[in-house]
């Protein structure tokens, strides 16, 4: 099977298959593999049938995602379909409205197959903190998929959908994409509306696509990007239709992003840098602040915003009582409450927002001399299940290389570049200046990254 948006539309063009056939082959595959992988939390066959029956006449130009089966991370509100954020607090929650991203996907003709597993409330980088059990990495089911969009990345890697939408606050799209060998694009903060996405850290939350090809990431971004009056931080700028025409550009790299990176990943990085040079790009070493520094900044900002965002779950208007919060959410809420409290606000929250300015200035300075930055996405390839519980902030350690760009609101893309000695995918990331998603997509397309179908 292994459809991409383009190959599926070609099959529709040539009338090789019907949308019902495609959808039912996916639901069958999910029924067969999901008990092992636990990528989906909800697959609503009735809702799928209804979407298929309501599709307009086939027109891939007017409806760029017509008949494309898509998986949705379970923190997007979907009208009439369970939305749990993988937490027992929202176990029985059924939203009364669609998130803007969901509305746009539906309007573009996409078929929402179901809702994918994640770290509860998107707190983590393992998908092990889900209240509904961990998701397994299809490359090796004894390993984690990464997270928090772990179910989304696995749904793409194991071909349980054509493409997925996830969300990233600091790493939650790029890191699982890297560990599962697929493509993950985190757009510029504000490029894609957060309306109807269960909020984690509102100042960095960024919805985005996880896909098998760069072309698919571009197609989905085109559909979901754009100004939304319902999100006050939504960018008014339109997404550029195509990238700039300059064929070769300057790509920077910083040795600070290689500290503590495993030898296999480091080797992959060097190979990628050479490949960029062979394609005619100019490579330039730059000096970026140590990403280690961002762990403290991100921890403070994220916990503070979490404590405020999760205060709304009172178990009165909807959802279950707060006593059902898992341990990870409790820790985050408590530390957030602390850093925002009288007497400590200046030393923690305000201080973190000031260091954030320094991180932004560091990138601004770098982007005066380079057009894009290459770095590994994660310090290691996929780790064994159970590892995440050993660290008080596992997520921050695994996301160290994506945190600075997330804190700064920059766009970034992770793509697979090969395998390590354990036959696990290695991911690299490219960063570009604010609003330059098209540059990232064009540059990544030069590699024509191959997403291998597993299982």
């Amino acid at each position: 099977m292994k459809y991409t948006i383009d190959s599926l539309h070609q099959a529709y063009d040539e009338k090789q298959v019907s949308v019902s056939e495609v959808v039912s082959s996916y639901t069958k595959r999910i029924a067969q593999l999901n008990p092992t992988l636990n990528a989906y939390l909800t697959v609503d066959e009735e809702a799928i049938a209804e979407q298929v029956s309501k599709l307009p006449k086939y027109d891939k130009h007017r409806f760029p995602l017509w008949g494309v089966p898509i998986s949705v991370k379970d923190n997007y509100c979907t009208k009439g379909m369970h939305t749990t954020a993988a937490s027992n607090v929202l176990k029985d929650f059924v939203p009364q409205y669609d998130a803007t991203v969901i509305r746009k996907l539906r309007e573009a003709g996409a078929i929402i197959l179901g809702k994918t597993n994640m770290d509860a409330w998107a707190h983590g980088s393992s998908t092990e903190t889900s209240d509904f059990g961990p998701t397994k990495n299809p490359h090796d089911i004894t390993r984690m998929p990464g997270g928090s969009s772990g179910g989304a990345a696995v749904s793409v890697a194991a071909d349980l959908c054509v493409a997925a939408v996830g969300t990233e606050t600091a790493g939650s799209i790029r890191q699982p994409a890297s560990w599962c060998g697929v493509i993950g694009l985190k757009p510029t903060y504000g490029r894609v509306s957060r309306y109807g996405v269960i909020a984690m850290a509102s100042s960095t939350d960024s919805p985005g696509p996880i896909t098998k090809t760069v072309a698919d990431a571009r197609s989905i971004l085109r559909v979901i990007a754009g100004h939304d009056p319902l999100d006050a931080t939504s960018l008014p700028d339109r997404l550029a239709d195509t990238s700039e025409t300059k064929k070769t550009i300057t790509i920077g790299w910083s040795s600070t992003y290689l500290d503590g990176v495993s030898p296999d990943v480091k080797h992959g990085f060097e190979k990628t840098l050479q490949a960029l040079e062979q394609k005619g790009h100019h490579i330039q070493e730059i000096s970026l602040m140590s990403p280690q520094l961002s762990i403290a900044v991100y921890t403070v900002i994220q916990r503070a915003e979490v404590s405020s965002n999760l205060a709304r779950f009172d178990g009165i208007r909807y959802g279950n009582p707060r006593s059902l919060f898992g341990s990870e959410a409790k820790k985050r809420i408590m530390l957030g409450t602390f850093v925002l409290s009288v007497g400590y606000f200046d030393a923690y929250y305000l201080k973190a927002q000031k260091v954030r300015t320094l991180i932004i200035n560091d990138f601004k300075r770098a982007f005066k001399t380079v057009d894009a930055i290459l770095a590994p996405t994660a310090p290691t390839t996929a780790l064994k299940l159970g590892e995440s519980a050993k660290y008080p902030f596992f997520g921050e350690i695994m996301d160290v290389l994506v945190e600075p760009s997330s804190i700064a609101g920059l766009p970034g893309i992770s793509f697979p570049i090969g395998k390590d000695d354990h036959n696990l995918p290695i991911g690299m990331q490219l960063l570009a200046p604010w609003k330059e998603e098209q540059r990232l997509l064009r540059l990544t397309a030069e590699f024509n990254p191959e997403v291998e179908q597993v299982l």
Binding site: T188, S203, L235, Y318, K354, V355, T357, G409
Partner: protein
């Protein structure tokens, strides 16, 4: 000017207070783990103190948008009373029923 207090670790008393402020519940064994893990987190977070930010303004929002107000043409969907109450565990048909505020200290 506000004082810049840096905390070294959390005591059981601190954690009890944060639990109450956050309206959470923790078991005794959970509390011990949380106290030790949050103290470790605090240690990592305190590394920020070494960075000189005396000449730096904070950034709360990264894309520069300011004062975004609701406009007249903003899409507006209103939930019906039935829809608004549909997820509530306890209602009288027209209102949510709360358990009241139990903040004690």
């Amino acid at each position: 000017m506000a004082t810049k207090n840096v905390k070294k670790d959390f005591s059981k008393h601190d954690i009890d207070y944060l639990v109450e402020l956050s309206k959470l519940t923790v078991t005794e064994s959970e509390e011990a783990t949380i106290t030790s893990q949050l103290s470790q987190t605090l240690e990592a977070v305190n590394t920020m103190e070494a960075i000189d930010t005396s000449q730096v303004e904070p950034t709360y929002q990264t894309n520069g948008l300011e004062n975004q107000f609701q406009t007249a043409d903003m899409p507006h969907t209103q939930l019906t009373q039935k829809e608004a109450l549909s997820g509530a565990p306890k209602t009288d048909g027209t209102h949510f029923i709360t358990t009241g505020n139990t903040f004690t200290s």
